[in-house]
């Protein structure tokens, strides 16, 4: 049975894929992760998670054109699928509903979407 819940790391990566858009391949995602979170991560770990997200159907991917920078090798560009989009939204909504039930902040915080 395929797991369809999102882990924290998975969710972050999924969001990064969305942010990077046409540039979303393993190396760039790992770099972006490191610069956004200040945490070190190996490309292998990112790749493995992207692969898993693909298996879960949240990401689709295809090989792009070659560039000289990588010794002429192509890269695998990831894009968020509709179900990926949905699961991100669900996760956000779920957290929002939790925030809204949180008394100390509920009055003070304003979320703009």
């Amino acid at each position: 049975m395929k797991e369809t819940k999102l882990g924290d790391f998975e969710e972050t990566l999924l969001l990064l894929v969305g942010i990077l858009d046409k540039e979303a391949y393993a190396f760039r995602i790992a770099e972006e992760f490191e610069s956004q979170t200040q945490r070190a991560v190996s490309i292998g770990a990112v790749h493995s998670t992207l692969n898993r997200l693909g298996e879960k159907g949240f990401l689709s991917s295809e090989m792009s054109g070659a560039t000289a920078e990588r010794g002429g090798r192509r890269k695998r560009i990831y894009t968020i699928t509709a179900s990926g989009q949905r699961v991100l939204e669900e996760s956000r909504d779920f957290k929002m509903s939790l925030w809204n039930q949180f008394p100390a902040f509920a009055g003070n915080l304003k979320f703009n979407f």
Partner: protein, 902 residues
């Protein structure tokens, strides 16, 4: 695979647009990646890692990028990325957990046996770790220079029909000759390490202070030495730090001691209260690393010195030369050129100086350039004044470490197969339930690797506990390099390899059992293996016997030296040191005051002592009138006062001692060995002449006494009358040492209140001359103990094995009425035979080895039978003790237990 090959090729065809010069991702890591990575992922992953590599290389460094590449590759070891073919056999992989569990349970079930197995292995590994550290340190001397291949020490070489020798010292004026005529030599520096001038120990004080502090580690060098040996300076400049006359460079730790927290360049230091000649600090150097042959904290400059070191001419060979050649200079050609330069420019100068034997020099003497990295172990055996490591010792140690490891592995194999019957049932059952042989082999390999890992961890613990003791014995400051990135992985790798090698035989052996036989309790296989097993025990005990013999011989030799009559009395003599800071008149006053104290029978002012740490001077001598005719010989020349011979308890065999009369100032007392060199029948009143043309009349002959190591023969020695500057020696005639020393201290304080008294007992200094022998002895004893331990474990394994094989026989015999002692004899007989063979082989080898060890020394003991008897008895006793445990247990066991299953 084809696919991935293409990727490598495309990489080399299409270099990454030349952004980083020379840096490409490590090929090995790339290969590893392609080996395990799914083919369809290769392209994108290689691309990603390449990009990562070049961006890291740009941001940081190529080295960091390479390291990071490895890191990334290792982190691709994830299930999703692995080639499915490589790791298809997942059941076997997952069985490892089960195997480990079984191994752990087996270990716990037989605690004694397991602890012997692991403990023995761990001891072997600990010994190996320690010795490897030692060997690594010994081999790492002077390998850290940037211009490693361009730094040399110059040595003289004499080679004439079997007569061959090399030594360092050269005349001072060679330096300008080399600088002017040899363009291949970029820099030249003279140095002085032997006890001359202020080399060695001195009393130091700051200009403004009155309190003298005792310091050691002084030597002289030309300003260029700092550049040649690439000594980094914290303050000051390499080129100029020693270039002013009377400048000094001190080490960082000494700078912090004398001038905490400040830059001391320009400050002045006074040596030995000689305030007429202060030394100005020209620089502060980093402390010299422990892996350089050159050790010291204070470098005094030789620049423009007017007297003593630095000022001698063509007469005397006083300096060790270090050079730095230009890049790419040919060593052989340069050596040849030095000879030519000598013949062209130097010979005339030497002749003008009156140096004799110039033809000898022209014909047989040449030069040898010793690469800096060779200086410590000195395989060329160049004579000099420095401490060296012993190359033989390094290899002997390495060999012993390997042997101990091999023995430990053999034991491991032995112990694993010995208790096979218990495991046989397990094997049988596993086979019945469907395990294939490869599975069983895998199980036993996992088990032995598991044991070996535990042993390595334990061995590491033992090594770290034993390290301080080992350091003391080997006179080192070794540390376990646990923080180095390679240390733990390489230990783990070693553990796996050792575990595999020592596990493969037991694995094949145990997995071969046929299930029916195994379950019935029948394990055959005897005879064929017993030769190997017995051979192993013989080998181990032979090694033990040899090491015990060597330790005993060294022990006896050491005691022999300590108790030998030396020709002088070393007991009850105190040397008070550091008198060079007081005036000559005060020294005489001190001597008078001391003689007035009760319990002091005599005192002598002389710097030359028959123990280490005294002054050394040598000169060439001839019979009067034979200087141009005879070859010279070298004799130690000592200046002593008229009380010396009495204080030291030396004996005159002919003639008389010095007196205070002025006529005795040109008198000389020689030792018997010098008398033999001079070939005089009636020496008293005859004259000798030295290299400076001083004529001296022989007034006495002193009985030979050992003034250098007892391991060498007594050299010629000549004494002339004079007074020491540094040392006064006093003979104590009472046993109240504490009282005498305190009264001596008071006398000293009256004369020199701002310098604490420094004294040593001569018998202590004598013993210190033999520390290297003592070290060798202790190390051999330790290895003997280790070897005995390992050999005992081997024998224990064998006895356990045999007893198990014969348990039914023993039970039947017991039922039929054999007594316990009869059974014990039956079981022990076979082993005693093996031990006997080991002793028969071991004694001649040990004998030969001992002769070899003693050959290099003089005054050696005779090897007699008692040494060999003792070592044989030791081997026998230990063996008997070891086998008795299993044998007695078998002999007193209840026979019904063993026979019940039939």
């Amino acid at each position: 695979m084809k696919n991935s090959k293409n990727h490598i090729n495309s990489e080399s065809n299409l270099p990454p647009s030349g952004r980083i010069k020379g840096g490409t991702p490590p090929r090995l890591a790339e290969k590893l990646l392609l080996w395990f990575l799914k083919d369809e992922l290769a392209e994108e992953v290689l691309g990603d890692l390449d990009e990562k590599f070049y961006s890291t290389a740009e941001k940081h460094s190529t080295r960091k990028a390479k390291r990071n590449y490895w890191f990334q590759v290792i982190h691709y070891l994830r299930p999703f990325a692995l080639k499915s073919t490589k790791f298809r056999n997942l059941t076997a992989t997952f069985m490892i957990g089960h195997f480990l569990k079984i191994s752990w349970r087996t270990l716990l079930r037989r605690k004694v046996f397991s602890s012997i197995k692991i403990g023995g292995f761990a001891i072997g590994i600990a010994a190996c770790i320690l010795i490897s550290l030692f060997v690594r340190h010994e081999l790492s001397y002077d390998k850290h220079y940037r211009h490693q291949e361009q730094i040399f020490r110059i040595a003289n070489q004499y080679s004439n029909a079997g007569d061959f020798g090399r030594w360092t010292n050269l005349q001072g004026p060679f330096k300008p000759i080399l600088e002017d005529y040899v363009p291949e030599i970029e820099l030249v520096a003279k140095t002085v390490f032997w006890k001359w001038g202020d080399v060695g120990e001195n009393h130091v004080r700051k200009q403004e202070s009155v309190n003298n502090i005792y310091e050691s580690g002084f030597f002289y060098a030309d300003p260029e030495l700092l550049e040649i040996l690439e000594i980094p300076l914290l303050y000051g400049d390499q080129k100029t730090a020693l270039s002013q006359p009377n400048s000094i460079v001190i080490s960082k730790s000494k700078a912090e001691k004398f001038f905490p927290g400040t830059n001391p360049v320009g400050e002045q230091l006074i040596l030995n209260d000689n305030s007429n000649q202060p030394y100005t600090i020209g620089g502060v150097m980093e402390d010299l690393p422990s892996t350089t042959h050159l050790q010291g904290d204070y470098i005094l400059t030789l620049k423009d010195r007017k007297s003593g070191p630095g000022s001698t001419g063509w007469c005397c060979s006083n300096y060790t030369f270090y050079i730095k050649t230009i890049a790419g200079a040919n060593k052989k050609a340069l050596e040849q050129k030095l000879v030519e330069i000598r013949d062209t420019y130097v010979m005339d100068l030497l002749a003008a100086e009156g140096v004799s034997e110039l033809d000898d020099m022209r014909n047989y003497r040449s030069f040898y350039l010793q690469p800096i990295a060779n200086v410590h172990l000195n395989p060329e055996e160049i004579g000099d004044y420095q401490q060296h490591g012993q190359e033989d010792l390094v290899w002997i140690f390495g060999g012993i470490a390997l042997i101990i490891l091999v023995l430990a592995c053999l034991n491991f194999i032995n112990l694993s197969t010995a208790k096979s019957i218990q495991r046989a049932k397990e094997v049988g059952l596993r086979k019945v339930v469907g395990s294939v042989r490869t599975g069983l082999i895998r199980q036993f390999l996992v088990e032995s690797i598991f044991y070996s890992l535990i042993s390595v961890i334990l061995g590491l613990a033992i090594a770290s506990i034993a390290l301080p003791t080992f350091n003391q014995l080997a006179d080192k400051t070794l540390v376990l390099p646990v923080n180095n990135f390679w240390f733990i992985p390489s230990l783990a790798l070693a553990a796996i390899i050792i575990g595999f090698i020592s596990g493969i035989y037991p694995a094949l052996y145990l997995s071969r059992f046929s299930p029916i036989d195994a379950l019935k309790g029948k394990t055959k296989t005897r005879g064929k293996n017993s030769l190997v097993r017995n051979g192993m025990v013989v080998f181990q005990f032979t090694a033990t016997v040899i090491l015990v013999i060597c330790s005993l011989v060294l022990h006896k030799q050491f005691n022999h030296y300590m108790n030998q009559s030396l020709g002088y009395e070393k007991d009850q003599v105190i040397n008070i040191l550091g008198l060079n800071t007081i005036e000559a008149s005060e020294r005489d006053l001190l001597k008078e005051e001391l003689l007035r104290l009760p319990g002091i029978s005599s005192a002598t002012l002389a710097d030359y002592l028959p123990v280490s740490g005294g002054r050394i001077t040598n000169a060439a001598f001839w019979n009067e009138g034979r200087k141009e005719l005879d070859p010279s010989f070298e004799a130690a020349t000592w200046r002593v006062d008229e009380d010396y011979i009495e204080t030291m308890g030396m004996k005159l065999t002919q003639g008389r001692n010095f007196t205070k009369q002025a006529s005795d100032s040109s008198a000389i007392i020689i030792n018997e060995s010098m008398l033999n060199q001079l070939l005089l029948d009636d020496p008293i009143g005859k004259q000798v002449v030295d290299m400076f043309n001083n004529k001296r009349t022989i007034i006495g002959v002193v009985k030979d006494f050992n003034f250098e190591s007892l391991a060498t023969n007594v050299r010629p020695l000549a004494m002339t009358r004079g007074k020491g500057f540094n040392t006064i020696s006093i003979k104590i005639s009472t046993n109240e040492l504490a009282e005498v020393t305190s009264s001596i201290g008071k006398t000293w304080d009256n004369i020199k209140p701002n310098q604490p008294i420094r004294y040593s007992f001569m018998d202590d200094r004598f013993e210190r001359m033999y520390t290297s022998l003592l070290k060798a002895k202790n190390i051999f004893i330790i290895f003997s103990i280790l070897s005995i331990t390992v050999a005992c474990l081997g024998l224990f394994a064998l006895s356990a094995y045999t007893v198990e094989q014969r348990s039914k026989e023993v039970s039947v015999r017991k039922v039929l009425g054999a007594s316990v002692s009869r059974l014990f004899t039956l079981l022990a007989k076979d082993f005693i035979k093996l031990i006997f063979i080991a002793i028969v082989i071991g004694i001649p080898v040990g004998w030969a080895l001992s002769e070899e060890i003693l050959q290099g020394m003089a005054n050696t003991i005779d090897l007699n039978w008692s040494i060999f008897l003792v070592s044989a008895l030791v081997a026998f006793g230990i063996a008997l003790f070891t086998i008795s445990y299993e044998s007695v247990r078998a002999a007193i066991a209840n026979p019904a237990e063993k026979l019940r299953s039939e």
